[in-house]
């Protein structure tokens, strides 16, 4: 970098040096001093603080370090007061220092690096801006006063609107420009790997402090001398501009030159705009007096008019005389002016002549200059700067070359050092790996020893058995010893059963065949347990930080979407203004009016308000979004969702935002909507402030639309973020869905306004009266009230209501749409990382994590895409780990996918079982049980639905256990918007449906309900997959408990059961209750498949990987898992087929015409079915006859054969 620049710089300095001094040594020294030092300083200030020396550099260095350290500290989130508190925590001398720093910029002293890095404050900027606002307003007033001081007809009136306008201008400059700049820097920072980056607060702080120079300047503007004002403007501009430019220079230095120029000129331009704008707006020049001509001409016209009317000759004569006099006077005046102008012309001519003389002089000077230059050249050759054959010695050029040489050497040394450190890193990582492998090996050895021990135990047991048998045989052989005849066979049986149990448990038939496989699994499990500690002592700590990192991705995406929404706001507002004020009769007048309105201060203020609303909406989107929709299975559950406190907060926030937007609309529409009160005269003549009902109706409409928007959001699952099957670029997706958004917002606004008008007609008097009372306004009785049919049938009012509602919904929908588009963008996770610190961000690790759900979805989507499109990344999946030779990546991915699928299968089976057991009692009002007995409410929904089973089932410890897990905090399905499972409104069926989801650990199903356990063998004819999932045998306690309970049926339970049946019977007759508690058709089916997008991706990813493994898997990594994957898919296929045979499961949902809610969740089950079939077909077509070699149960083989023959 430096070597490219230097020759030019050197030449410049050379010339200067030659002109000034003849001494060669002196010039070289001066080159050294002047050129190298700034370079160093710059570097020290910007890039690497470690390289520089000197006080400033040290300070910068220190600051950087502290900043780095403080970055680790946890800061409160930005929506809390604590977050902002820290920006006001500053001492006076610091503020002083900073102000001085901003007023006296010094080359090389970066404002942020030197003054701010420790902690940016908002205190200084805020007060500087405020002071500036008042300084401008006050000095503007004073100067105005001074200008008009001598005028006799001038009456001083303070102009208070200057304060508001100044405040709007200054604060918007100090906030919006930094915001934009921050965005731009962030964007560029991602593009070019820039080392310097500033936080938003720092940029705001710099901007705030850079304004401080304007305060004295503004005070100077009081004096009505134009030259003084311009001088002070230029000085202030230079100072503040140089502060800004020097501050932001390091952040953009490495960028494209065009971008640098653009950013820097934008920064400077805004600064100039502010200064010049303030000056021209607040400090006007004294206007020259009106020329007299106009008045006299007017008089002439008047008089002629008068004469033509023929009023009186005398008068007219007198008047004409007077007029003549005046005319004469004017003529004289004109003559006088003409002479003056002539004088001026003469002066100009003389000046022209003098300039020509000057030009001549300039020419001669340039000639001289040329000659001098020639001389200089000669001198240079003498000195040796330009190679002359006579001189031999060390010329300056040589020295420079030497310097360059040295520099190159230095860089090469640095590179070498870097390489060395890299190799050291490699070695250390290898060392770590070897240590890991060592521990692994030890573990393996341990497990082997354990196996050996087990086997020896078995052997011993067998020996014992053999001996026992031997003893028995001997006993049989001894007929002489008699025992009681009834006892002997019994004992014998007991022994036999015990033996059979022990053999089947301890020694399976194929124990020796599957040994290597199971051992492998053991080692794998051991690895899983032990690998986490070996990642470093702070794995959990790391995990937290990386969670933060990954969650940050989502936050960044949300922030980007909000920023775009804010950027789109001005054009949308402009369109709204034009539409709302448009009148067919005066099109041009409308447009010009709109332009003037858009540029007014009020419009800017409301735009800032709207920006705030958009930010809030974006924040709510981020807070409430979900990737798994919440599906209410009955009306009462939906009601429960609507009345949930969380939803209440959401609705009220939307209400308030609706009011704000409506207020902005009212201000922009203007006219009769503008203010809430207006002066009116009472019948008795006194004036009062009266209520403007038009304003009120618009505000309330905003609130209503906001409220209905949030309610409809719940009903249509608008917070559900769905992933598209077709990948498109963000811009194209946005463009494609824009018409839909317009249509949706227009129709939705129409419906909302219709409902609102009806509501206002009936209930409008309540808010009206309330507002009147609180604001002490009166109702104007002379004007017709609006909550009547005649009042509401005002077409223009309805149009304005509709267009405001459309505007409101459109801006919100746009924000929502952008949020969806940004959040669901494909994210590339690395498959494996060479650094252990980044291991958590890798695909296998993210896949297995539960929180946040969207990351898991993104990871699964990435898996599906990479398996489909990217051979190089597939290669990474199939690769073996370097020291151990284990396919960790593939194992982790396939295990996670299989557990997802197995989990879905389990859910389906459980659902099917519950439906099968009480298909007739399906519509029983489960919610009402709650009222009858507090005791039954303890049991979980699974048992509730199994009511035909005896009551004793409800009291098994297993069910209580299941319940405790259901309410557990770590459930992924109770994602933001789900109502709490414990809330009284959530139907038990919903809880039951969510329950199996949470137990992603496969063992849970075995414990959850013995009933399900009993059903299992029907579907899992082979136990291989449940074994493959590493499930321990079912705990004996859960199996044994039902038997214990059978012995004591309690009277109380019997009684409660009877009462419950009675109440149920009673309630079932009431229509309303039936309506509320009846299950919605197919909703349960939808809820069952609510998160099936994950399963679809898992299926796609796994099937594509298997397909690719046919040609790409070099190590046979996939082969070992193929049987379990196939059986898992086939079992799932069977379960899905069975599910689709249920009523309502295969019925198609109605296609809603236009709604922003994404209806894809309604058809996920069909997509899953299709994907599952395709996945199985993909495997069968790829492997063909090779599948015969895969070990499988006969039943599965039969099913698979159907797929091979394309008969399914």
């Amino acid at each position: 970098m430096a070597s490219a620049n230097d020759p030019f710089q050197f030449q410049e300095f050379e010339e200067a040096g030659n002109l000034l001094e003849a001494n060669r040594d002196a010039t070289t020294i001066s080159i050294e001093d002047e050129d190298v030092k700034p370079e160093k300083q710059r570097r020290a200030a910007g890039l690497n603080p470690a390289a520089g020396g000197g006080d400033d550099e040290d300070a910068g260095d220190y600051d950087d370090k502290t900043e780095l350290l403080s970055g680790q500290q946890k800061s409160p989130p930005f929506w809390t007061f604590e977050y902002y508190q820290q920006f006001f925590d500053i001492e006076t001398h610091h503020v002083k220092e900073r102000i001085i720093g901003s007023v006296l910029p010094w080359p090389g002293k970066n404002f942020i690096q030197v003054y701010l890095r420790r902690n940016p404050d908002l205190y200084g900027p805020f007060w500087i801006c405020t002071t500036l606002v008042f300084a401008i307003a006050i000095s503007g007033n004073i100067s105005n006063f001074l200008v008009h001081l001598g005028k006799p007809n001038y009456k001083y009136t303070p102009e208070f609107q200057k304060v508001t306008i100044a405040a709007t201008a200054i604060f918007s400059y100090a906030w919006l420009v930094p915001f934009a700049l921050w965005g731009v820097l962030l964007w560029r920072n991602n593009k070019t790997m820039n080392l310097v980056s500033y936080s938003f607060m720092e940029i705001i702080c710099v901007y705030g402090y850079s304004l401080s120079i304007y305060i004295p300047a503004v005070v100077l503007w009081i004096f009505p001398f134009e030259w003084l004002r311009w001088c002070s403007i230029v000085v202030a501009l230079c100072l503040s501009g140089s502060v800004l430019v020097m501050t932001f220079w390091p952040a953009v230095r490495d960028d494209h030159p065009k971008v640098i120029v653009a950013i820097m000129s934008a920064v400077v331009l805004f600064n100039i705009l502010l200064a010049v704008g303030c000056k021209t707006y607040f400090f006007s020049k004294p206007e020259p007096a009106l020329p007299a001509n106009n008045s006299s001409v007017a008089v002439v016209i008047k008089t002629t008019m008068a004469t033509s009317n023929g009023k009186g000759e005398k008068v007219s004569k007198f008047e004409t005389l007077k007029l003549l006099e005046k005319c004469r006077k004017e003529r004289d005046d004109a003559m006088h002016r003409e002479s003056v102008l002539r004088e001026k012309l003469r002066q100009y001519e003389t000046r022209m002549r003098s300039t020509e003389g000057l030009k001549q002089k300039l020419k001669t000077l340039t000639m001289d200059n040329k000659e001098l230059r020639k001389q200089v050249k000669a001198l240079r050759t003498e000195i040796g700067l330009e190679c002359s054959p006579k001189f031999n010695g060390k010329t300056t050029k040589d020295i420079i070359y030497d310097l360059h040489e040295k520099e190159r050497e230095c860089t090469s040394m640095v590179e070498k050092a870097g390489k060395l450190s890299l190799t050291i890193d490699d070695l250390t990582s290898e060392l770590a790996n070897t240590v890991t492998s060592k521990t692994l090996l030890e573990d393996q050895v341990q497990s082997l020893q354990q196996n050996l021990k087990d086997m020896t135990n078995n052997q011993r047991r067998l020996l014992k058995l053999w001996e026992d048998k031997k003893a028995q045989r001997e006993q049989f052989a001894l007929p002489a010893i008699t025992q009681k005849p009834g006892q002997r066979p019994f004992v014998h049986k007991g022994i036999q059963t015990e033996m059979s149990v022990s053999t089947s448990q301890k020694l399976p038939v194929n124990a020796f065949e599957t040994k290597p496989f199971s051992r492998d699994k053991d080692s794998k499990n051991a690895l899983d347990k032990h690998s986490f500690p070996t990642y470093g002592n702070g794995y959990h700590h790391d995990k937290k930080t990386f969670m933060h990192d990954d969650a940050k991705v989502i936050c960044w995406r949300a922030a980007a979407s909000i920023a775009w929404a804010v950027l789109l706001l001005p054009p949308v507002t402009a369109v709204f203004v034009i539409l709302s004020r448009f009148s067919l009769l005066h099109p041009i007048h409308t447009i010009s009016e709109c332009f003037s309105l858009l540029t007014s201060a009020g419009a800017i203020f409301s735009l800032i308000l709207l920006c705030g609303v958009i930010l809030m909406v974006g924040f709510l989107n981020l807070e409430y979004y979900t990737v798994i929709p919440t599906i209410a299975c009955s009306k009462i559950a939906l009601l429960g969702q609507l009345l949930h406190p969380r939803q209440f907060v959401n609705s009220s926030a939307h209400c308030i935002m609706g009011i704000i937007v409506a207020w902005c609309c009212a201000v922009t529409i203007g006219g009769r909507y503008e203010t809430i009160g207006y002066p009116c005269t009472h019948s008795d003549g006194s004036t009062h402030m009266c209520l403007n009902e038009y304003h009120l109706i618009l505000l309330l409409a905003g609130a209503f639309v906001g409220f209905s928007h949030s309610l409809l959001g719940v009903i249509h699952n608008m917070n559900f973020v769905s992933f598209h099957t077709v990948q498109q670029y963000k811009y194209l997706r946005f463009k494609g869905s824009l018409p839909l958004v317009v249509k949706c917002s227009a129709t939705q606004a129409l419906y909302s306004v219709r409902n609102y008008v009806v509501v206002y007609f009936f209930l409008g008097y309540i808010p009206k009266a309330w507002i009147c009372k609180t604001l002490n306004l009166h109702l104007n009785s002379s004007i017709h009230p609006l909550d009547s049919i005649a009042g509401l049938l005002d077409l223009s009012l309805l149009y304005h209501l509709w267009i405001s509602a459309t505007f409101l919904l459109f801006t919100w929908y746009i924000t929502l749409l952008l949020f969806r588009i940004f959040v669901t963008e494909v994210y590339n996770f690395p498959v494996q990382s060479s650094f252990t610190e980044e291991a958590h961000q890798c695909l296998p690790k993210v896949l297995t994590d539960k929180e946040p759900m969207i990351l898991k979805f993104l990871a699964l989507q990435d898996l599906a895409l990479l398996s489909q499109h990217s051979p190089s990344r597939r290669c990474e999946v199939f690769s073996l780990s370097q020291p151990g030779g284990h396919p960790h990546n593939w194992n982790a991915i396939s295990r996670e996918c299989l557990s997802l699928l197995a989990d879905l299968t389990q859910r389906l089976v459980a659902y099917h079982d519950t439906v099968a057991t009480n298909g007739r009692a399906k519509s029983l009002s489960t919610g009402s049980e709650r009222k009858t007995s507090s005791e039954t409410s303890v049991t979980s929904g699974t048992e509730d639905l199994m009511s035909p089973r005896p009551t004793l089932m409800m009291k098994t410890p297993a069910s209580v256990f299941a319940r405790s897990i259901v309410g557990g905090p770590q459930s992924p399905l109770t994602a933001p918007f789900t109502p709490d499972l414990d809330s009284p409104f959530a139907s038990p069926s919903l809880r039951r449906l969510t329950a199996p989801v949470e137990q992603c650990s496969p063992w849970h199903g075995t414990v959850q309900s013995p009933h399900v356990m009993r059903r299992v063998p029907k579907l899992w004819s082979t136990s291989t997959d449940s074994q493959a999932n590493g499930s321990p045998p079912p705990s004996p306690a859960s199996v044994a408990s039902p038997q214990q309970q059978t012995s004591k049926p309690s009277l109380l339970a019997q009684f409660l059961q009877n009462r419950k049946e009675q109440v149920k019977h009673f309630l079932a007759k009431r229509v309303l209750i039936m309506y509320l508690f009846n299950k919605l058709p197919e909703a349960s089916s939808q809820a069952l498949f609510a998160d099936s997008q994950a399963h679809i991706w898992a299926l796609e990813g796994i099937s594509y990987l298997i397909q690719a493994s046919f040609s790409e898997d070099q190590f046979g990594v996939v082969q070992t898992a193929l049987p379990s994957i196939l059986s898992c898919m086939l079992v799932l296929q069977e379960a899905v087929d069975r599910h689709f045979k249920l009523p309502h499961a295969s019925s198609k949902p109605l296609r809603s015409a236009s709604s922003m809610g994404d209806p894809t969740y309604k058809t996920l089950r069909f997509a899953l079915r299709a994907t599952l079939k395709t996945a199985i077909y993909r495997i069968t077509t790829t492997f063909g006859d090779h599948l015969n070699a895969v070990q499988m149960s006969a039943e599965h083989r039969k099913r698979l054969q159907q797929f091979v023959e394309y008969k399914d």
């Binding site: 099957t725 990948q727 209806p1159 058809t1163």
Partner: protein
């Protein structure tokens, strides 16, 4: 470059092409009399069904007068649409008169063509001539054939045939039942295609919608209920004339010459994403490359687009002379052959696949198309007099192994000595891409080929199925041993990415262009 002059002379009348064996096309006067040597040398495989649909067997919409139109119009159309149709009738009558071809055409075709011509006449008035001509040629090409569309199942030996009376029959050699699909909305079927990696799903391009039938292969019913069909419709997207499944079976694309957008359907969700670009006006047909990476979408004007399916961006390819008439992809998806209306040559484009994994966004495609074959008119001197073969190309088909390329030449219906004919090329990719002559495929006298398709999974080479204007469907097997990389004998393996082949294609690219120049 290959030209027709290198071909062997076409057969005399009465002779039909039977098969290719030992590098030569065998012919016979009777289809039943199969040459002995073929039977002895080739493995006895299950010969697919040859079918014959005489025109008389179908109950067609017999309607020639425009006045009786109302009786046949579907009354589900709204009043507005009916009145608009009436307006069309009265106002476009003169326009249709000017096109005598159109009227000839009209005399014996069904509602669909009528609809298309009606739409086309209006479009000619409202839009431009190109759309009209595209629709018109489409109509003429299909007008006299009873079989309107034909599709092999991608993995098995069954196929679907769409007939002129808007019914679809499914033939399966392994089962005795032939299900017939009829649906209220299934009017004017223009294309059918089976879903890959699925046994049952069949997509049908209809007038106003795309139907996706789920025909259970094990079911014994001959008339599946209309409940088995999914209806995919989008306002403004009609008439649908072409559909294409993605080779992975996940997406379905549909196009209409009257709609500028290509619809990409998520069939399970019944939702679609319109892919819209300015210019062109409509999409005449769609062709998804076998590796799933590109989709060819020509427009009625002199412009075609190649969509990349990763992020759905497109490349524009302006043609010089006319619109893109037809195109087909090589099995590995790296090469696109296409023909342009008004020219008698075949162009090739080579797509080097973008380094997948690195999302560069824009794949660096080829810079220019190269001419690979010249099919200008050539006269052959046969015993029965001179026969002129060549001219414009109607469609192309490439067999799934990439060894045979069938080219359907239009011919001239007026001139007796210029019949429509299928020319078959052998294709070679190593060491350079070139087309070698193989021979002509001919049918019975007075029967012209209308549709052709290669069997997607024929074991012993390639099997070309041809639908003739007489209503006959015949199969012409080409027996050969695959010279390229063995396909593992697996159906459906074209999906498999084969990097080694791609590499060779890449290496040959420079050579290829050299040869062209």
């Amino acid at each position: 470059m290959c030209s027709l002059a290198l071909f062997p002379a076409p057969l005399p009348d009465g002779q039909t092409t039977l098969c290719e064996s030992n590098n030569e096309l065998l012919s016979g006067s009777d289809a039943e009399e199969r040459p002995k040597q073929v039977r002895s040398t080739q493995p006895q495989e299950l010969s697919p069904l040859s079918l014959f649909f005489p025109r008389e067997s179908l109950k067609l919409h017999s309607r020639t007068e425009s006045s009786s139109r109302a009786a046949f119009l579907d009354h589900s159309e709204t009043l507005w649409m009916r009145s608009a149709a009436a307006w069309w009738d009265t106002h476009t009558h003169t326009h249709t008169h000017t096109h005598t071809h159109t009227h000839n055409c009209l005399s014996n075709i069904g509602l669909f063509e009528d609809y298309i011509i009606r739409a086309a006449t209006v479009s000619r008035r409202l839009l431009d001539y190109s759309t009209f001509s595209a629709l018109f040629t489409f109509c003429v090409a299909r007008s006299d054939c009873v079989v309107r569309a034909f599709a092999w199942h991608p993995h098995t030996d069954k196929f679907a045939v769409a007939l002129l009376d808007d019914s679809i029959k499914i033939y399966n050699p392994k089962s005795a039942t032939t299900p017939t699909l009829k649906h209220r909305l299934q009017r004017s079927v223009a294309a059918v295609q089976w879903k890959p990696l699925c046994a049952s799903a069949l997509a049908v391009a209809c007038q106003n919608c795309v139907l996706v039938w789920h025909v259970d292969p094990c079911s014994l019913s001959t008339r599946p209920s209309s409940g088995c069909a999914q209806v995919l419709s989008h306002p403004g997207h009609s008439p649908v004339t072409s559909i294409a499944w993605s080779p992975s079976g996940s997406l379905l694309a549909s196009a209409s010459p009257m709609d500028t957008a290509v619809m990409v359907w998520d069939v399970a969700a019944e939702s679609c994403v319109p892919l819209q670009r300015v210019g062109g006006g409509g999409v005449t047909f769609l062709s998804w490359s076998p590796d799933g990476s590109h989709v060819l979408a020509p427009t009625p004007s002199a412009l075609f687009r190649v969509w990349e399916t990763r992020m759905w961006t497109c490349e524009r390819w302006p043609c010089v002379k006319g619109r893109c008439q037809s195109g087909c992809w090589s099995p590995d998806g790296s090469r696109l052959l296409f023909t342009v209306q008004g020219e008698t040559v075949i162009y090739a484009l080579t797509f080097t696949d973008a380094p997948a994994g690195i999302s560069t966004g824009t794949s660096k495609g080829p810079q220019a198309a190269a001419v690979v074959a010249d099919l200008s008119e050539t006269s052959f001197n046969t015993a029965h007099g001179d026969v002129i073969v060549g001219g414009e190309i109607q469609s192309l088909a490439w067999d799934p192994r990439g060894e045979r390329l069938a080219v359907l030449l239009k011919g001239d219906p007026q001139a007796a000595d210029r019949p429509a004919i299928i020319a078959v090329f052998k294709t070679r990719t190593n060491p350079v891409f070139e087309l070698l002559p193989c021979g002509f495929v001919q049918g019975e006298a007075d029967a012209e080929p209308r549709l052709m398709q290669f069997h997607p999974s024929f074991q012993h080479g390639a099997l070309l199925t041809v639908c003739w204007s007489s209503g006959r469907i015949t199969h012409v097997p080409f027996y050969f041993l695959s010279a390229g990389v063995p396909h593992f004998g697996l159906s459906g393996s074209p999906l498999l990415p084969r990097p080694q082949e791609r590499c060779s294609a890449l290496a040959n690219q420079s050579l290829f262009t050299e040869m062209i120049s």
